[in-house]
């Protein structure tokens, strides 16, 4: 044993990883693919490959369509519009890898954050709402009571203004701003915590008011046409009055009641719900919805990304469904890590909770997270290809492996090479990521033998 060198866990892991021959080989392939993807525009400028969207011109166009692989100038042949397959393959790889990496990175980040919060705060209910006459709120009064009341009113006013006077987008922004303000107030010494809670409760009153208003509003709109005609059925009429009663009851409760919510329960429910959602139709509806230039999101993506808007959209959609697995893994890990001695020690030392979560707990869970990320890259590439194949993903003329295959399917008996190459490319890439993931799993597992 070499005594003069300190072995960090990472070098150990690397040593274990190196023993995994397939993983090393796959890593090489990935690096090669990334290099190819990054240098694609350079290759075009150097004249090594033609532009992926370059179509032949001049007479007798049909002669330059469907050229077989091995044709001079087109090592992998040309497609139904005479475009170079190799060049499109490289450009398609750019998109696939971009989608794969971005999706994996974002979903893992979001998943880790959500999972960590859920895991760490499990069992500690957060006082989400406390009415102005509730014992909790009365406790807050006492010293500095005037400031508390004022701040609550400020919260209430701001929230009401946001609800009724602004666009949904601005309202959301304002909401985030208020959360931030509460968080900052919380960090102030002395009365800080008290004031933060006051602000938050004011805000929560507005939420309750808004919700009660919404119930009445919806009931009225639904009943209006029937009332005008005078042919509301007794059940509908009962429903109409019940809605009003419900809203009143809600308000009454709002004065004295309190609602505590366990963040973990909320997040777990959301995860359960997302898992029971039929993925496909939601995916497809989401894609249609974001692609529409009329919708707010559609406008945003179109203005930000232009031609490549569909790429951004597909990434967003995959992230919406991608964070769940990571969140579940991380939550489970943090739940058990939370109970271990080093966490208790940190808590006893008065280390801030943010610090405990991100400096002590998350790093201890990093190995499974990394493995998960690698596998997610492969999965994202697969799903993107599938969606593009169905026509919901990335739109031509932007080339991706998936939409190259869609086009190729029409000519499968006539020009099979159009399907073979993108198919192989997907296979190779996903395979490589899977092997790297396998390798990492073994390498990062402290129990595995060196």
């Amino acid at each position: 044993m070499a005594q003069n060198r300190i072995e960090t866990p990472w070098t150990l892991a690397w040593r274990r990883f190196r023993r995994h021959r397939m993983a090393i080989f796959s890593l090489g392939i990935i690096i090669l693919l990334v290099a190819l993807a990054l240098s694609a525009p350079l290759l075009v400028r150097l004249g090594w490959i033609p532009d992926p969207n370059l179509q032949p011109e001049g007479p007798n166009l049909a002669a330059s369509y469907f050229l077989p692989p091995g044709t001079p100038g087109h090592p992998l042949g040309t497609d139904e519009l005479g475009r170079d397959v190799l060049s499109r393959l490289i450009y398609g790889g750019r998109i696939s890898l971009l989608v794969g990496f971005t999706v994996a990175l974002s979903s893992v980040l979001i998943g880790t954050l959500v999972g960590a919060i859920a895991g760490y705060f499990a069992g500690r209910a957060f006082l989400f709402f406390a009415g102005p006459a509730s014992p909790t709120y009365r406790e807050l009064l006492g010293r500095g009571g005037l400031a508390v009341v004022l701040l609550s009113l400020v919260g209430l006013g701001t929230a009401l203004y946001l609800f009724y006077r602004t666009e949904p987008g601005t309202a959301l922004l304002g909401f985030a701003g208020a959360l931030l303000a509460a968080y900052l107030l919380n960090r102030l010494p002395g009365l800080g915590e008290k004031l933060a809670r006051a602000l938050w409760y004011g805000f929560s009153w507005a939420l309750l008011l808004g919700f009660a208003g919404l119930i009445v509003d919806v009931a009225r709109t639904l009943a209006e046409p029937g009332m005008a005609r005078g042919d509301l059925s007794p059940i509908e009429l009962a429903g109409y009055y019940l809605a009003h009663l419900g809203a009143l009851a809600l308000l009454a409760f709002g004065v004295v009641g309190r609602i505590a919510l366990d963040v973990d329960v909320v997040i777990s429910r959301i995860i359960d719900f997302m898992l029971s959602l039929p993925g496909l139709p939601i995916l497809l509806v989401l894609s249609a919805f974001m692609r529409n230039p009329e919708s707010a999101l559609g406008k945003l993506t179109a203005s930000l990304f232009g031609e490549a808007a569909s790429v951004a959209i597909i990434i967003l959609i995959l992230v919406v469904f991608g964070w769940i697995t990571t969140a579940r893994i991380v939550r489970g890990l943090i739940l058990s890590l939370r109970e271990q001695e080093f966490t208790l020690a940190a808590q006893a030392l008065g280390v801030s909770e943010t610090r405990i979560v991100f400096r002590h707990l998350v790093p201890n869970a990093i190995a499974p997270i990394i493995v998960d990320a690698t596998l997610q890259v492969g999965l994202a590439i697969l799903v993107e290809a599938g969606l593009s194949f169905l026509g919901f993903g990335i739109q031509p003329p932007v080339a991706t492996w998936g939409n190259m295959l869609t086009g190729a399917q029409d000519y499968i008996f006539y020009a099979p090479h159009l399907a073979i190459f993108p198919g192989l490319a997907i296979l190779l890439t996903v395979l490589a990521f899977n092997y790297v993931g396998d390798g990492l799993r073994d390498a990062l597992d402290p129990r595995s033998r060196v």
Partner: protein, 576 residues
């Protein structure tokens, strides 16, 4: 072990048996278009009308591939009276529906009144309603949901009076005013005579005033006739399961018995699969997407025949529209400093027209199989004038026109516009990209963007007059020039009003043609319109693709009639 091998061998033999080709008296057509409905009052797409034209029959129909010669079908003769306001049809006797009911004038009256009563927004009823009652939509849509009982009653009176039976075999149409295109409308496959007794028995509209308003604007896809057919045609429907249609010859057909006894129209979305089936002989005819596929993959296949003829032309026309006054605040399709009335200047329109390289379009998209149009009218239609000149591709002339536009101001200040197309339409996309390249090459201050829109967005933006310049086409509903000239050139036309086109002289000529019954005089007026439209460059007619039909080579009797959704009728073909 040996037994296992034996089973395996038999199994593979069974599985591997080559499928026999389609029998001689059976016709299999594989296509991609979903059939929308089998109800003639609702059907407005080729896939649906293809079935309807073979199962139902109209009063008169086209003679084989001709658009100008007709032959009687369910009528035997007709007269026009009152200067073109009254049409009287003498119906054929002894005709039976597939259900066994005899066909009489009651059925004819019911069929046409049903079209007028229901007239759903997405159906073809509007062009019958226009001629017969002077409205272009159903009662609820034309008068509003809450109109008075009186108004509705009046509307019903109009319907009731417009189609009447003089006796059991004499049908009388009374038009609101003379309409020279009315006869052509009656040739539309959806103007079919349906079995009224059978329809009423099965819960369709009763044919009386009692429940007519309930049926106004109703989505007929939820009714009985949506899936069931009882017509008088040579074929009767066996089954439509939402995908495939199976039909068989009707043995009590009044006319000549067809040679093909069984028909299958199969929906196969993948072109490769269709071609493979054709090669194997599993299909007699397949839909092929474009000429590129025909040239590269179909031509030369053994046992396969590609039918085409330079004289064939589709019953459709497409043009590039110029918006004379672009509307909409924050309109993303036109630059902030670009005049909204850019295309109101004749010089700009002519310059753009000179930058459309028609030859290149035909060559690149249709691989040479296309015809240039001189006006927005299919060449086989009455009034088409092939002698009108076409703006040839000429950047120099375009430059000269641009320099003259807006007194030279445009040349100095430039402009920025977006050409749009509906995503997936490569023809329109190529046009847009071609114009961009050609316009921007003339003056660096001219900016042209290209943007593909989803189909509904494309329509919506055009409808709201947001698009400065856009290509769009139209397929004939009925073989009358008015079906093109009015929408394309009249200030109130369905398409031209989206471009804020207002040229009084054109409007006047179109109205005049509508009131002219004599075909020759009408033709002259349409030629005049075409010439005037060319001089003013109100739009740029685009070339259209020469049609082709792909079948097995033993299929005979194939012809091309652009007004037939299937280009030919099943009863006219046979196999050798």
């Amino acid at each position: 072990m040996r037994r296992k091998i034996g089973i395996l061998a038999t199994l593979s033999l069974l599985l591997g048996v080559a499928l026999a080709a389609v029998p001689k008296d059976t016709y299999v057509y594989m296509t991609f278009g979903d059939i929308d409905t089998l109800d003639p009052a609702q059907a407005y797409d080729t896939a649906s009308l293809h079935i309807i034209e073979n199962v139902y029959e109209t009063l008169y129909t086209y003679k084989k591939d001709s658009l100008t010669e007709y032959e009687p079908l369910l009528a035997t003769s007709y007269e026009i009276k009152d200067g073109g306001k009254t049409y009287i049809f003498h119906l054929r006797k002894g005709v039976q529906f597939h259900s066994g009911n005899p066909m009489t004038c009651r059925d004819a009256e019911y069929s046409f009144e049903r079209i007028l009563v229901t007239n759903p927004g997405d159906g073809p009823g509007w062009f019958f309603a226009e001629s017969l009652i002077g409205y272009d939509s159903n009662a609820k849509s034309a008068l509003g949901e809450n109109a008075s009982q009186e108004a509705y009653d009046q509307y019903w009176e109009l319907i009731d009076k417009s189609v009447e039976c003089d006796d059991l075999y004499t049908l009388r149409f009374t038009l609101v005013k003379p309409d020279p295109s009315f006869f052509a409308k009656l040739l539309y496959a959806g103007a079919a005579i349906i079995d009224s007794k059978w329809a009423i028995q099965n819960g369709e509209w009763s044919g009386t005033k009692k429940d007519w308003l309930d049926w106004a604007g109703k989505d007929l896809r939820q009714g009985f006739l949506h899936k069931n057919m009882s017509g008088t045609g040579p074929y009767k429907l066996v089954k439509w399961d939402g995908e495939n249609v199976v039909a068989e010859a009707f043995d009590k057909y009044w006319g000549e018995k067809p040679k093909i006894k069984r028909v299958l129209v199969q929906i196969v979305k993948e072109q490769a699969t269709r071609l493979e089936a054709l090669k194997r002989g599993d299909a007699d005819r397949v839909t092929v997407n474009d000429w590129a596929t025909v040239e590269s993959q179909v031509r030369g296949l053994p046992g396969v025949k590609v039918w085409s003829d330079p004289n064939w032309a589709p019953a459709g026309a497409g043009v590039i529209f110029f918006n004379f006054k672009v509307e909409g605040e924050d309109n993303p399709y036109i630059g902030k400093n670009t005049p909204r009335d850019l295309f109101s200047d004749l010089n700009v329109r002519r310059a753009f027209a000179h930058l459309v390289d028609q030859e290149a379009l035909i060559e690149e998209i249709f691989l040479g199989h296309g015809v240039k149009l001189t006006m927005a009218l299919p060449p086989s239609f009455l009034g088409y004038d092939p002698t009108i000149p076409i703006y040839e591709f000429d950047p120099d002339k375009a430059e000269a026109y641009f320099k003259k536009a807006f007194g030279g101001k445009l040349w100095d200040e430039g402009f920025e516009i977006t050409i749009t197309y509906n995503q997936g339409n490569t023809f329109r996309q190529t046009i847009a990209e071609m114009l961009k390249a050609n316009v921007e090459a003339i003056n660096p201050k001219f900016r042209v963007n290209v943007r593909g829109l989803q189909w509904p967005d494309y329509l919506r933006s055009a409808r709201n007059k947001l698009l400065p310049i856009w290509p769009l086409g139209w397929i004939a509903d009925y073989a009358d020039p008015d079906n093109f000239i009015h929408p394309f050139y009249h200030s109130k036309g369905a398409l031209a009003k989206r471009q804020n086109l207002k040229i009084p002289e054109l409007d006047r000529l179109i109205e005049e043609a509508r009131a002219t019954v004599d075909p020759e005089k009408r033709a002259e007026i349409y030629k005049k319109i075409g010439r005037l439209a060319h001089d003013l460059a109100v739009n740029v007619p685009l070339p259209s693709q020469s049609p082709f039909i792909v079948t097995r080579d033993n299929l005979k009797g194939v012809y091309y009639n652009p007004m037939r959704s299937g280009t030919f009728l099943w009863k006219d073909i046979y196999k050798e």
